[in-house]
Symmetry: C2
């Protein structure tokens, strides 16, 4: 269960004044009468799981795990951010069980990055999961061509065929046709779910399962999310979060700093930034989503937050129980003068840093703070949290009266680039 | 040489109106008559190098390289961001020469992160470089106690002594006293240089040298920076950058998005964020520094930049010559429809993506763009770039009439935390 704590706001939002709008939004999402209603598949997905498909994902993941040491996920934006967020949050930055390693490619045109990954893969056993709705996303298709060539050069065309899985559109597109012709195994990217809402589809689930994470637990968490947050209740944490964001936005706080105290949540922050930035940022509206990891970044952005331009508000994700914990040992010499902490856990210190910072930023610095509290960082809780953010983001976008599910602005650079590259 | 291109601004700053202020700032930095003048050591450092110390750093680095597989750098904020930025920028995210690996610790209270790093180090050959002016920074001293205990448990107290190097204050402090007593080798963190301006001191140089990077080249680049940017010339790229930032800030653009097209510059972006955020963010002023890696984040923040709230401007770092390059191969079947790019390099595509994006954001999206152009990503050019940013940041802060070299706001959370932890 996600709890929202609004004690560190300078002023409480007038929740009651939002009741009608929240009701209408919830109603509209249910009867599919709002803009973007073609892309609401994610909202009820936890209820409508295709269990055959999930079993097939688990089976494929198990095969990949048994056959290779590395899975290369080739995709960009919504095609990889969800999986990367979940894998890094649950396995950490230096996972103890190393195999298979998950490497992300096809999210950049950087020649240096791509060349270094290809060098690293040389002589190693790897499989590929290429993820693209159309197959024409340039970053992804270039990387796929390069890494597929490497795989074929290492194992031959026939063996390569059995080490490539495509996640793509059900009915059409370049990647679908290529995969059919080459005989690659395919999973479907549902038509009514956009990339940034796709973490519970095969887009997210296959890489997550290959990383050794229990996807049934993740989906059970998503179902909890559906049951707890898909409603018009003003007491729901998701609605309260959406309303509070809106009230802060109306009060000219247009930058949200999403804060965690765990470095392994960096990729969750990246997922969050895409989710909110792409959903809300249109028609010259929206909160600019950015992120920081404390206490690390208190020694970097802390000064600005405390005393700089008063642009931003903070949303703190507080995890009550860490994945691993450590005690601070006693030292007879105590030359570092740390014995006053001996016997305490590192997590107790992290919590006190958080309390001290909340006090510093909200009371001394006059910055608004929203706290989202989760009990732990288990797979199930993370599933619930992802659903929570997706639902809150949709409500938040509808409160701005924008369509949460399109991204017309992303096409502009592509068109210009294709022209410069001479694409017909 | 760094070139600044202002063709993608909606309006040119009135540079002439800044001439007097730029002169006064340059004069004041030279005769030490401005606030923060005690911390201007970095500005003339490239002229005043201590060559004995640099030789000692190289010798120590060589010893560490020959004896261990991993260097653990224990520090937070300015004590590690510069080194990490340089090492990752030059060696890349998956360096081909793997040894020694550089691991950063002591920048977080996260028990999971710390426990995973300690597990990873178990049974491995490693050395420690602990970096702290006072030795009382809590994140760093807890991590140092833990990792030192691990090292002692693995190699014994005597051998450990020779695998620990401390970078700390010359005359006082807990870490200095501890190191004297234990007999650790020491390097000095100069008194007149603050953490975020310390990359060319032993703070940055030792880890950088251990990573196999030529620090003479880096310092030669810094000297180029001194010669090219430490002046009152309105044509200088550093002054033009500082003035343009100020003009945009006055026009209510209070968020700067520092953009690169190379993922390996992520840590340079983090260094940049600390440098500008901590230097400018005071007295309710300053531009909020944030960053993105394109084209990756065009599929995440791109929509917001193109069509969202008009808060921000972009500063693009354009590298003409990439570290590595790759050609896109021809494919007989062309099922992915990419043959129109065959024979082109990946870097050509990256450049076209940049041009297309500049056009999209500045013309269609009406976002101001500053382009900083560097010829390549060699060690020498990077040294110049770091100096460029430090000088521009000082000028930019003085234009806001704030002291670029203090950080009074960082202390607030620490005081609260110490109270909660019961520290006397």
């Amino acid at each position: 269960m996600i709890r929202i704590n609004l004690d560190y706001l300078k002023e409480q939002p007038q929740f009651d004044t939002y009741q009608e709008r929240i009701k209408k939004i919830h109603q509209g999402m249910n009867d599919l009468s709002l803009p973007g209603n073609d892309f609401l598949g994610w909202a009820t997905l936890p209820l409508n799981l295709d269990h055959n498909e999930i079993e097939q994902i688990k089976k494929t993941a198990q095969e990949i795990r048994s056959r290779v040491d590395i899975l290369v996920v080739v995709g960009i934006g919504g095609s990889y951010l969800g999986a990367r967020a979940v894998i890094e949050a649950l396995n950490g930055l230096r996972p103890l069980a190393k195999k298979p390693e998950i490497i992300f490619l096809g999210q950049t045109f950087s020649s240096t990055y791509t060349a270094q990954v290809l060098s690293y893969l040389q002589g190693k056993k790897f499989a590929i999961n290429v993820i693209s709705k159309s197959g024409t996303t340039t970053e992804t298709s270039i990387a796929f061509r390069l890494v597929r060539n490497l795989l074929i050069s290492q194992v031959g065309k026939d063996a390569a065929r059995n080490l490539i899985v495509a996640t793509t559109d059900k009915n059409k597109g370049v990647l679908r046709n290529l995969s059919l012709k080459e005989g690659y195994q395919m999973f479907v990217l549902p038509e009514n779910i956009g990339g940034r809402y796709s973490v519970f589809t095969p887009v997210g689930l296959l890489p997550i399962a290959v990383a050794g994470i229990n996807i049934d637990d993740l989906l059970a968490g998503a179902l909890n999310g559906y049951q707890r947050y898909n409603n018009a209740d003003l007491e729901s944490a998701a609605n309260r979060y959406a309303i509070t964001r809106n009230a802060l936005y109306q009060a000219n706080k247009k930058v949200e700093l999403f804060v965690t105290y765990e470095p392994q949540l960096h990729e969750l922050q990246e997922w969050f930034k895409q989710l909110f930035g792409e959903s809300e940022g249109k028609e010259h509206q929206g909160i600019f989503p950015t992120a920081a990891t404390f206490s690390t970044d208190l020694h970097s952005l802390g000064q600005f937050i405390q005393e700089g331009s008063p642009l931003l508000f903070e949303t703190i994700l507080n995890i009550k129980q860490p994945v691993l914990n450590l005690s601070i040992p006693h030292d007879d010499d105590n030359l570092d003068e740390l014995n006053y902490l001996a016997g305490k856990t590192l997590n107790e210190v992290n919590e006190k840093a958080m309390m001290g910072t909340l006090e510093a930023h909200s009371h001394t610095g006059r910055v608004n703070n929203i706290i989202l509290e989760i009990p732990d960082l288990t797979t199930k809780t993370l599933g619930e949290l992802l659903y929570f953010f997706m639902y809150a983001c949709a409500v938040s976008s509808y409160l701005l009266e924008v369509n949460p599910f399109d991204q017309p602005g992303v096409e502009v650079y592509k068109k210009n680039m294709f022209k410069l590259l001479g694409k017909k």
